[in-house]
């Protein structure tokens, strides 16, 4: 379970997150929606520990561990997985090699044994097949020359392999056509589990037709202004953000 309390963070000296409190119990999927510049992506970077995002107040506990005390890779080992809006291309590093280093790094940190090569191959090929990722792609350098949809699928494949306890999906729907959106959403839904929390960041309600959230939060000017059930997403789509964030809300 993720428990964020009064989280404040600055980027380049200006305060972007202004006191966020949020609880995502295990097994639940929460969506965060909000206009451009509201702090959605900042929240994902603060939770995952990116340089340049300075936390000035508050805590973010994942299953009892304060994430904010940990390095980026330690947070990953603690169970944080961020599916990037724009996954990076890693020239010269074959996808297989990348996945193997990733998995074995977190396994080592979690006190688990390294997977043998055959076990690893079986795991990756099995998950890849479920997501429609071809074997040939696994041999290519990660994300290099992949289409937008292929990159997002690859993010979900990584998520499936790494077995995180907190999945953060940052604008996973951007750049996807309907078919790719369906496949990716099915991949995400397959990962819903009683011991996993998910935070889905999105602009549009469209993604939430496929990944149905337990709760929806509206983020604006660095604070959560409104929370509700899955139907909130539909209302937002109809009436826009203004009604929910209020002009004088700050």
């Amino acid at each position: 379970m993720l428990k964020i309390e009064n989280l404040h963070a600055t980027v380049g000296g200006s305060e972007i997150l202004r006191g966020i409190s949020l609880e995502i119990p295990n097994g639940e999927v929460h969506a965060i929606m909000g206009p451009n510049g509201s702090g959605k992506s900042t929240l994902s970077y603060v939770l995952s520990g990116r340089d340049g995002y300075e936390v000035t107040q508050g805590t973010a506990m994942l299953n009892g561990t304060n994430l904010l005390d940990l390095e980026v890779d330690e947070r990953a080992a603690a169970g944080v997985f961020l599916a990037f809006q724009y996954p990076h291309e890693i020239p010269g590093v074959a996808t297989f090699i990348f996945l193997r280093h990733a998995l074995n790094s977190v396994r080592e940190a979690r006190g688990q044994e390294e997977l043998t090569t055959p076990d690893f191959m079986r795991l990756v090929k099995g998950k890849a097949a479920e997501l429609g990722v071809k074997d040939e792609m696994l041999k290519r350098p990660l994300n290099v020359g992949f289409s937008g949809g292929e990159k997002k699928r690859m993010e979900i494949l990584q998520m499936a392999i790494m077995e995180p306890s907190l999945c953060i999906l940052d604008e996973t729907d951007s750049g996807l056509d309907i078919d790719a959106l369906k496949t990716v959403s099915e991949g995400v839904n397959a990962l819903r589990s009683p011991d996993r929390s998910m935070l889905v960041i999105t602009h549009y309600q469209r993604l939430l037709d496929y990944i149905v959230p337990d709760k929806v939060h509206v983020l604006s000017r660095g604070q959560i202004r409104h929370s509700g059930g899955k139907e909130l997403a539909l209302e937002l789509e109809k009436s826009g953000y203004a009604e929910f964030v209020g002009e004088d809300a700050a």
Partner: protein, 449 residues
């Protein structure tokens, strides 16, 4: 030129002149060789040690870098064992199944050298010292003339002081399966001057891999001057690879002079990991049409290492192709230099030439200087060049660390990926794998001593 001669000679230059007088009588060779030496030392007297006002030596000022003229290594062979060579080369390079031609402190070591029986008829090898004492006619006609660089300070010194080396002939249409491995190991505990000269002739239609390794057992402030003259006859195909892991205080001055005839294919590669100061000059002349050269390299530098790769590719005939890809990683206060000169002569229509040099800097004090120089005198050609210098990409590192990888793992993967593009150009799989393993060890901080 007058300006240069008027400059006061440095102690090192005077010392070299004195050494020549002292050792000349003991150097191998008949009168013809002695005349070569005489002319060379005269030309060196005019040129002096190169300094920063000589354009080709702008970044590597030997006049200030070489503080003393080291005593030439004497002609007594220090004894090394095969186990010593194993230690100096590492298991991978020692275990290539190659023909071994070994030089200890610049002297041919017959004991440790062998041409393996199955290819004995295809590779003819004699030591340079032996050849110079009794040079055959063909040798006199060609030696010191393969892509000659009369104005090269270091080559002039090499010709004056050359003591030993390999004279190799790969016979016509021979298809060698085993690499020919020239192993130059320094074994002396005191710093000395080592002058080696190799002369390699690959006959028509022959295929060979020639690996030159410069390694050390002790690590004093050795000064090595090594020149390789290599000629590829018609349709010859040569992989020419250099591995340089000299001791940390050593100076390594190397010159490759390559001539490529019609329809020949030359693939050069240099892996630089050792020495305090190294200068790697690669001169390639296209002397026949429809020929190709693909020259690449990797340098890994740290501490205060200085490595200079200077290329001079001359397209003198039509329909030739050249490619260069050099990757350099510099840490600490290291400094890397890449100078790439491409000349396309008026007759050399349909030249296709491309040159790339990329540096990756791992510290704020590391430096990479790249200087491309294109001289194009023909109009129907395709020539390109590019040079970049950068650091590891922050966004990429964040992405990988978010996937659980430690900073060390991320750096290792990204740096290996960076240099991997050049290593991939080495055709011999075993040599490639050996180099990649060494690059990995270097990243783990285990190499460089």
């Amino acid at each position: 030129m007058t300006a240069v001669t008027n400059i006061q000679k440095t102690d090192v230059e005077l010392g070299l002149a004195q050494q020549f007088d002292d050792t000349r009588a003991n150097l191998p060779g008949n009168d013809w060789v002695d005349t070569l030496r005489e002319n060379a030392i005269r030309s060196f007297a005019k040129l002096g040690l190169p300094h920063r006002r000589v354009e080709a030596w702008k970044y590597t000022d030997l006049r200030s870098m070489l503080k003393e003229a080291k005593t030439p290594a004497d002609s007594d062979l220090n004894s090394v064992s095969d186990a010593d060579l194993y230690q100096a080369l590492g298991a991978d390079l020692h275990g290539l199944g190659a023909h071994h031609i070994v030089f200890v402190d610049g002297i041919y070591d017959e004991e440790n050298s062998f041409i393996i029986g199955d290819e004995a008829g295809l590779v003819h090898m004699t030591s340079l010292a032996e050849t110079l004492d009794n040079p055959p006619e063909w040798f006199m006609q060609n030696f010191n003339k393969v892509n000659p660089r009369e104005d090269d300070h270091v080559v002039a010194l090499n010709t004056a002081f050359m003591r030993d080396g390999a004279v190799i002939e790969i016979v016509k249409n021979a298809k060698l399966k085993r690499p020919v491995h020239l192993i130059s190991v320094s074994s002396s505990a005191s710093g000395q001057a080592i002058t080696e000269r190799h002369f390699i002739h690959v006959e028509e239609g022959a295929t060979a891999t020639i690996l030159e390794s410069y390694v050390h057992l002790c690590a004093p402030d050795t000064q090595r001057n090594s020149v390789t003259e290599l000629s590829l006859e018609k349709s010859a195909r040569v992989n020419h690879v250099k591995f340089q892991l000299e001791g940390v205080k050593a100076a390594h001055l190397s010159n490759w002079m390559v001539s490529i005839r019609e329809s020949a294919n030359y693939r050069g590669f240099q892996f630089t990991i050792g020495a305090k100061v190294s200068r790697n000059t690669i001169n390639v002349n296209f002397d026949g049409s429809h020929s190709e050269a693909d020259i690449s390299g990797v340098a890994l530098l740290r501490d205060e290492q200085h490595a200079d790769t200077t290329m001079d590719i001359v397209h003198g005939v039509p329909h030739t192709l050249s490619r260069e890809l050099f990757k350099t990683v510099v840490d600490d206060r290291g400094r890397a230099i890449f100078q790439g000169k491409l000349t396309v002569k008026p007759d050399a229509q349909k030249t296709d030439a491309n040159q790339m040099a990329h540096g990756m800097l791992l510290s704020d004090t590391a430096e990479f200087d790249a200087k491309p120089e294109l001289e194009i005198h023909a109009d129907d050609v395709v020539c390109g060049h590019g040079a970049t210098s950068g650091e590891l990409d922050e966004d990429m590192m964040f992405y990988m660390r978010q996937r659980g990888m430690s900073m060390d793992t991320v750096q290792t993967l990204l740096i290996l990926a960076f240099v991997g593009e050049s290593f991939d150009l080495i055709e011999d799989k075993e040599i490639r794998a050996a180099f990649i393993a060494m690059a990995q060890a270097w990243l783990g901080g285990k190499t460089g001593e």
